[in-house]
Assembly symmetry: C2
């Protein structure tokens, strides 16, 4: 595959979806609205499931040429009409498929948590570097224009001052057969449980607020977990962690599969405070809000309405930003770097929870 | 002093203020509006300062008979026209004066933190029990009718479910010469610093939410502290703590003298969430608000406007409730008990911060 082909055709990056995971429907629509990307293939071990997924998504957001349904992941890796992969596989499977994608010359959008641990993630990223493909994790909120507006607010010396404390909570209550059937509490596939699924966003938010400074030490506590079964360690069902940065700045977070939906963050400065009630997925992502010292700012996403259902502005921006990078032919080291930092802090929180003591980040 | 005299005259409890601390001005007005209490004496080591304090307070909230200015605390203890003392002395001095007040047959409203440690507080309470005087700490918000409305919300199985997590933050930024001159950062008088001054409210709120169940374990961390001086240990300037209750319920709090004013609490249930933005001192205490699942409830305090300045509804209720107890001639063990529990948790948080490990509550 020549470089030109690998980096899109006719100003569009051609995406292949690796698996028909539910979250892919939303991201299909995001790609559809991106303006610089299309979906050209969907791979599933069950080709019929792939066909149904495509038919269903095409009803909502129809690409001119319907994507191909491929019967294996290998076929997708070999496809000549695919530049980039969207990989929402379970965490335990990501290492293999990200490395294989990179080796096949495909750029990668990878869901979070990116890996089982930072050592695995470093291998994945080394493969991406070697093969000159872009890596980005699936933290959508990073791409909403609200982030820029919040950054300006945090930079406002007069109104906010210096950051001293960050607090974040992200939770939802698993219903029905969640605790029996959902992948997110399966120790073999998702050993970090709610910390991986929800804590990744909280840790990322704190690192963002701190301009990517790593904490010096972290503590973590698994408050409750699944019953151990078949030699598999318990998976966190609710988890609290704390990050200690140089200079007396600290962050505390809490995640849970056991309490109702909450997704707020609070950043405290020497003079003011920033609060955002929906930092992960804005309730209205076409006009996302945050508060500084009680005054509300609303940030328009710049995308028109989403007549085909739930708004996907920030997802759309993720695919647009990613595709801009791919089309540019340059690799941006920032995105793998922040994914790795997030993973390292997450690993340290888990290690602390297991050891019952503070863990230093080297 | 006979029991009748000790328990008020003409349906009013007669208060003596032990010191002219600034906070006394607010509580003077609270007593004034209580309907069942009056101030009859103010003691200061400097009798002129006492006279000025009285003259100033009388301008705002004039008692029919101006209180007497007494030139020593001993004189106040001996006064035959005083049933109860309000003691806002620095923490290190409270033990001596609460015990002496009890031995003089005076009921006691004591500012927080009540003591240097739980052992001291137990001695203070033993003295109160022996002398059959009522003890209550100065946590005003406990007396606002909002608390009852919030309790009903937490008890709502359908809307809130079971408590799993409590988070609270109380902070203000010390300005001017606060870090040099303010008593709250003097290690000899206020060794618990922001944990004593602000954390007391957060811990109390969590114990309240948990219906006075003690946590099984706590952790604490002094994030920054004063410089040690003259052999006096550093005083916490910002502090975070976490409480772990039986059954997987947990609480996290953060206090600081280094960030702008914040005073919020968040209680997460298996189904819903309660949020209060101003749990310590309602921004509008005549109509104090809280939110459950995003819907705002406002609780009228039932007191008329406060034409003489800042509203003091919850302070007024504190003195009214306390005076009701005194007038009843019965001692209510609840109030000393919750003060002691708060102190025990606070002590354990400090111990954990010093030792760098979890501390179990016996």
């Amino acid at each position: 595959m020549d470089e030109k082909q690998k980096n899109g055709v006719d100003g569009k990056v051609r995406f292949g979806f690796l698996s028909t995971a539910q979250i892919g429907r939303k991201n299909w629509r995001a790609v559809f609205h991106s303006g610089n990307a299309i979906v050209t293939a969907v791979a599933s071990r069950d080709v019929d499931r792939g066909r149904k997924f495509i038919a269903n998504c095409q009803q909502q957001a129809p690409f001119e040429t319907a994507p191909a349904a491929l019967g294996s992941y290998d076929e997708l890796l070999a496809s000549k009409t695919v530049d980039a992969l969207y990989i929402p596989l379970p965490t335990a499977l990501r290492k293999e498929w990200v490395i294989r994608a990179a080796e096949a010359g495909k750029h990668v959008v990878c869901e979070k948590p990116c890996a089982l641990n930072a050592a695995d993630l470093e291998e994945m990223m080394a493969a991406c570097r070697r093969n000159r493909v872009q890596f980005m994790d699936g933290v959508m909120y990073m791409h909403h224009p609200r982030m820029g507006a919040m950054r300006s607010a945090l930079n406002d010396e007069a109104g906010f001052g210096q950051i001293r404390r960050i607090m974040a909570m992200f939770s939802f209550r698993g219903g029905g057969d969640f605790f029996k059937a959902n992948i997110r509490v399966h120790g073999d596939m998702e050993p970090a449980g709610c910390l991986g699924d929800l804590g990744w966003y909280c840790i990322r938010f704190m690192l963002w607020a701190m301009n990517w400074q790593l904490p010096r030490e972290v503590s973590g506590r698994m408050i409750s977990g699944t019953e151990p079964r078949g030699g598999v360690a318990p998976v966190p069902l609710d988890f609290s962690g704390e990050l200690f940065f140089d200079g007396g700045v600290s962050g505390g977070f809490y995640n849970s599969f056991l309490v109702g939906m909450q997704q707020w963050a609070n950043v405290s400065g020497t003079k003011g405070a920033l609060r955002v009630n929906d930092f992960v997925q804005p309730v209205n992502d076409l006009e996302a809000a945050f508060e500084v010292n009680g005054a509300v700012t609303k940030v328009k996403s710049g995308v028109g309405g989403q007549p085909d259902g739930e708004a996907v502005s920030q997802q759309m921006y993720l695919f647009r930003h990613f595709s801009d990078l791919v089309l540019s032919g340059k690799i941006d080291a920032f995105w793998p770097e922040i994914a790795l930092k997030t993973q390292r802090v997450l690993d340290a929180c888990l290690e602390s929870a297991g050891a019952g003591r503070l863990v230093a980040l080297g």
